[in-house]
Amino acid sequence: MEGKKVSATVGSSEKKEGATESGSEQLSQTAAAAATTTTGTTATASAAGVAKTIEVRDVNLFYGDFHAVEDVNLTIQPNKVTALIGSSGCGKTTFLRSLNRMHELTPGARVEGHITLDGEDMYARGVDPVRVRRLVGMVFQQPNPFPTMSIYDNVASGLNLNAGKIKKSQRDAVVERSLRGANLWEEVKDRLDKPGLGLSGGQQQRLCIARAIAVEPEVLLMDEPCSALDPVATLAIEDLIGELKSRYTIVIVTHNMQQAARASDLTAFFNLEESGKPGRLVEVGETEMIFTNPTEKATEDYVSGRFG
């Protein structure tokens, strides 16, 4: 139900916003280009190189009067997995949501500072947030396939917003490519018309990833994508993240320190000095460095499990 509501909102803002034109065109072109290559493997090669750099400069995030995140400066590199770690309430999820303009969806929430996607200011006047969310996809903690939709329609849901622009054959190709890209195709190809909710938790999460990559985003944000999954499904998602980084810029929030150590190239540690104060980015560096020889004592204490 919630899913339907979201798609309806996105659809309506699409209709009324003139600024979405360029975004939708770019989207349909990419989808058409991808559709000409029918198998997942060749599509992977054709889509390589679209990953983009996110530059975060002097970003402060607020919920009304509450200052949630303070003075973040960070470069998120293309074709790398950047993990955001830190204890609950340190602002890492809030920060993640600012990277695709989802933070402002909370009433009273606002963003100060600059976030650019390959030099283009996401928050500049006239930039359509819906287009930003297309280019910067999000995968959530709890797998959230649209409950009434089939597996096929779940993946195609983003494309369906452009209904009429894409032929059925092209749509089929994008669905297959996306499911292959999410390592799910072999498991579901014979039941594409069955409900997405019939899948296991791990499969549902891969379905959500397939849905996110169907619209050819440039960045994938993942908010604790494995916290609701068992260890086997978790490893499957981590493998997938490793494959996806050849095509996308990936940012993942995780509470699982070993997951950050295993799956990411760069790790950013957020910390909250005391409750009521804003969260800050304490240290960012190569994951190997953060987990073997961090610079800051607060980072060392956190990754070593010395809380308090």
Partner: protein
């Protein structure tokens, strides 16, 4: 955030394991002291005791090694903890080797026979090497416990004393003459000097681990193939 009790236990256990592992250096120092005494007095009984007691060093090695592996498996240590555990696994091996070198010496003592030493000068130098190596062992332990890189680095300088004495032993052995018995004695003493020199080198290796724990970078203080 509250201190998590299970984590505090882990931190305490790691500290205890470090103390216990480095305590192995005290066992080595005892073994070396006895070994030197056995050399000086040609005391074969004492030498046998050193050989038998080496089981204590080996036993400690196995016990702490297992405990460290368990910590790795159950606690996922990272950062300084991880470096400490990695270096302790290394240091344990150094300690075990140092104990074995004492055993090697004690096994050849009977070969030196009951005759008075063929060359008092050589014995004097070997005992001096042993005394200096005990200084190195104690300093290696202290520098590790205190995470003192300067003190650890100073081991190289201390080790030069041992190396120079070892070289002098070599030339004394060369000059020992043609007599077969004297030559055999000199060979045995050279093996002894060599074993002590190895013990001192292991102490320097422990110093390198100190630098690794503190800085996160492993560098040999001095590379034998590329002398400074």
């Amino acid at each position: 955030m509250p201190e998590v009790a299970a984590r505090a236990e882990y931190v305490e256990e790691l500290t205890n394991l470090e103390q216990s592992a480095l305590g192995g250096l005290d066992l080595v120092n005892d073994a070396l002291t006895r070994t030197l005494e056995a050399i000086e007095h040609q005391d074969i009984e004492l030498a046998q005791l050193v050989v038998a007691d080496d089981d204590r060093i080996d036993g400690r090695y196995l016990e702490i090694h297992q405990s460290l592996i368990t910590l790795l498996a159950t606690q996922s240590p990272v950062a300084t903890d991880l470096r400490l555990i990695a270096s302790l696994l290394h240091v344990l091996k150094n300690i075990e080797r140092m104990g074995d070198q004492c055993v090697n010496i004690c096994k050849v003592i009977p070969l030196s026979g009951n005759e008075p030493p063929a060359d008092e000068e050589m014995v004097k130098r070997i005992l001096a090497m042993g005394k200096q190596t005990r200084v190195l062992i104690a300093q290696a332990k202290r520098s590790f416990l205190e995470r003192d890189v300067d003190q650890a680095r100073d081991l190289v300088r201390q080790d030069d004393v041992v190396d120079n004495l070892n070289r002098e032993c070599f030339y004394l052995a060369l000059a020992i003459g043609d007599d077969a018995d004297r030559r055999e004695w000199a060979m045995t003493m050279l093996l002894t000097a060599r074993a002590i020199e190895r013990i001192a080198d292991n102490a320097v290796d422990i110093g390198e681990q100190v630098a690794f724990v503190v800085t996160g970078l492993f560098r040999e203080f001095e590379d034998a193939s590329h002398p400074a």
